[in-house]
């Protein structure tokens, strides 16, 4: 920018004058301290993954497949996470089938239909507050409503419903954001050629908002996948049990991957520490893959209007 010697010296002179002659060492210290807080976060992440990976090596070295396909057992040499994986898959199916259509529907209503009435404002405030309710409280809701009142018992159905209710507000909030990012001119174009509101939403708004909606809902599924506390409330087994088929889990004893991690974390023997770490690695691989694909999706389809 500044090539002429004249310009440069003027700028330097002004700068020196304004900065009381010299650089700003304290500014550099501040910048370093701020950067350090991010580096500490990075460091914790690296140590966490590294430490758990190292602990998990014995399990993955000795019986990588056997660990994934064996049922729970109190004998560490035979214990596996099959029931945890099946249970988690089952729970996620419930969440996807219930929370996604209802959450997206609620967001479409709030963004595309509702006028700025007190009722719409009440629903919006309510959803924001629901998103801040601790997950364990949703567990109590599930315990009182699904397990007791509706008589579903301590089954995977009750667990799946509970998790679906838990992620519903998150799905609504992320979908609303994606819908709001679609400019009004797109809507006006559809309405202008005679589309009804729903035709406009289906053919114009939803396709443009789809990447954002998809990213948000994928992330909320990942969140549900790692939830433990509400499942403990509604009776997911934190222990060992024999049955294991998906059919049995629908009506009877079930568990999920994070619940298995919680249970094993309670044993202090080295064998169980290794098993816990291995189960955590499986959990983390799924969650990190899901998150990475969501971020890739967002970057790929990110549209600037």
């Amino acid at each position: 920018m500044a090539t002429g010697a004249n310009v440069l010296s003027t700028r330097e002179a002004v700068e020196r004058r304004l900065h009381a002659g010299g650089g700003d060492p304290r500014g550099l210290v501040l910048q370093a301290a701020l950067l350090l807080s991010l580096l500490i976060a990075l460091g914790v992440l690296v140590i966490l993954i590294g430490d758990i990976l190292v602990r998990a090596i014995p399990v993955f070295a000795e019986r990588p497949l056997d660990f994934l396909t064996s049922p729970l057992s109190s004998r560490p040499a035979r214990a596996g996470i099959l029931q945890g994986i099946l249970g988690s898959v089952l729970l996620m199916a419930f969440v996807a089938a219930l929370a996604l259509p209802l959450g997206i529907g609620a967001a479409v209503y709030l963004e595309e239909y509702a006028r700025d009435t007190w009722a719409a404002r009440l629903i919006r405030t309510n959803i924001r507050n629901l998103a801040g309710v601790p997950s364990i409280v949703y567990g109590l809701l599930g315990l009182a409503l699904f397990v007791s009142t509706l008589g579903l018992g301590k089954s995977a159905i009750a667990g799946g419903l509970t998790l679906a209710v838990l992620v519903l507000p998150i799905v609504v909030i992320t979908t609303s954001e994606a819908l709001r990012a679609v400019p009004n001119s797109i809507r006006e174009a559809a309405l202008g050629v005679g589309a009804t509101r729903w035709e406009m939403i289906r053919s114009h708004v939803l396709p443009y908002a789809a990447p954002g909606i998809l990213t948000g809902t994928i992330l909320s599924l990942a969140r549900a996948f790692g939830e433990t506390a509400p499942l403990l409330m509604v009776g997911a087994i934190a222990g060992t049990f024999s049955s294991g088929g998906i059919g049995d889990m629908l009506t009877g004893s079930y568990t999920a991957l994070p619940t298995v991690v919680f249970n094993w974390a309670g044993y202090s023997q080295d064998e169980f520490r290794a098993l816990t770490s291995a189960a955590i690695i499986v959990l983390l691989v799924v969650i990190l893959l899901v998150n990475a694909s969501a971020i890739l999706l967002r970057n790929r389809y990110d549209r600037k209007w």
């Binding site: 259509p101 405030t125 601790p134 364990i136 009804t196 996948f225 974390a265």
Partner: protein
């Protein structure tokens, strides 16, 4: 703009655009479904309040009032000392905020004011990944690494202690504090920064004395939300704080302790209750209601702060 698809044979009339019969009915049905989905959130809130309130009131009416103020929280022995679990929750949240306030705000200021696009592109996902790690994993990490390598060597505390759990909770909420405070500072209009530079202010003065105060509402909101999350955090505390069998009143973070949330998991998985024992089931809902009220109050206050930011700019 050229109308390439217009068919010359049948010019559109107003009648073609009129919404009639089936089309109108379909509109109504679909709108009703969306309205129902939105109204469901109200139903959920009402259900939460009712399910908590019923059992909590039953507990309060039937419990021996003396049992609410004893030496500790031991539901198995009919000792429901509320002060114990509230104190444990406060100790752990305090430790968590001591970690998350500097780390979260530091990260927020750096990302908003200092980071160039390339640094940002690398460091922002680090926070996102940290935020996506399930709390049960951080609980295991607190017990097997933080306690063993940080807390125990420095203080000689037992393996399960509140400090280790609190540190892990702090790490858990750091990304939340960072992202909300970054948003708040990002929303500060650039003319404020330019005005400061125009007066000859340094980068550091501008960041700390102009941008930070201008975003203070959002920053307070970030910290309040962090506290709310810390209070509601369950799995880390259940695994690492050492209160599974109940706990005596404890304010020393280097001792095991019991929080509201860990008391609930202990009751639910049965390590703290005898099957059929008098009021353990109802006490679960009583603690849940306490927790719900605490976090709701914090969330509402923080919401009010966020709205102030929006109004300001």
């Amino acid at each position: 703009m050229t109308a390439r698809t217009a068919r010359p044979s049948a010019p559109l009339t107003v009648a073609d655009l009129r919404i009639t019969g089936g089309r109108r009915q379909r509109e109504r049905l679909i709108r009703a479904f969306f309205l129902g989905a939105a109204a469901l959130s109200i139903v959920i809130s009402v259900a939460i309040v009712f399910s908590l309130l019923g059992n909590a009131l039953y507990f309060l009416i039937n419990v021996d009032k003396g049992a609410l103020a004893t030496d500790g929280w031991f539901p198995r022995r009919d000792m429901y000392d509320i002060a114990t679990i509230v104190a444990g929750t406060l100790v752990i949240s305090s430790v968590a905020m001591v970690v998350a306030t500097p780390l979260g705000l530091g990260a927020g200021i750096y990302l908003s004011e200092y980071a160039g696009p390339r640094v940002r592109k690398f460091l922002k996902p680090v926070l996102e990944i940290l935020a996506s790690i399930p709390s049960v994993v951080l609980g295991f990490f607190a017990l097997t690494w933080i306690s063993l390598n940080l807390v125990q060597p420095l203080t000689g505390a037992p393996l399960s202690n509140m400090a280790a759990a609190g540190l892990a909770v702090g790490i858990l909420i750091t990304p939340l504090v960072a992202s909300i405070s970054e948003d708040a500072m990002h929303a500060v209009p650039s003319y404020l920064r330019e005005a400061a530079y125009g007066l000859g202010a340094r980068k550091r003065t501008t960041s700390l004395k102009v941008v930070f105060p201008a975003a203070i509402s959002g920053i307070v909101a970030a910290l309040l939300l962090g506290v709310s999350r810390a209070i509601g955090e369950t799995m880390i505390v259940s695994i690492a704080a050492g209160g599974t069998g109940g706990s005596l009143f404890q304010l020393n973070p280097f001792e095991p302790g019991q929080t509201m949330t860990a008391a609930m998991t202990a009751l639910a998985i049965g390590s703290d209750s005898v099957r059929g024992a008098a009021l353990t089931f109802e006490s679960l809902f009583f603690v849940g209601m306490l927790l719900f009220l605490f976090t709701l109050a914090l969330n509402l206050i923080s919401d009010a702060f966020v709205r102030r930011v929006r109004r300001a700019y």
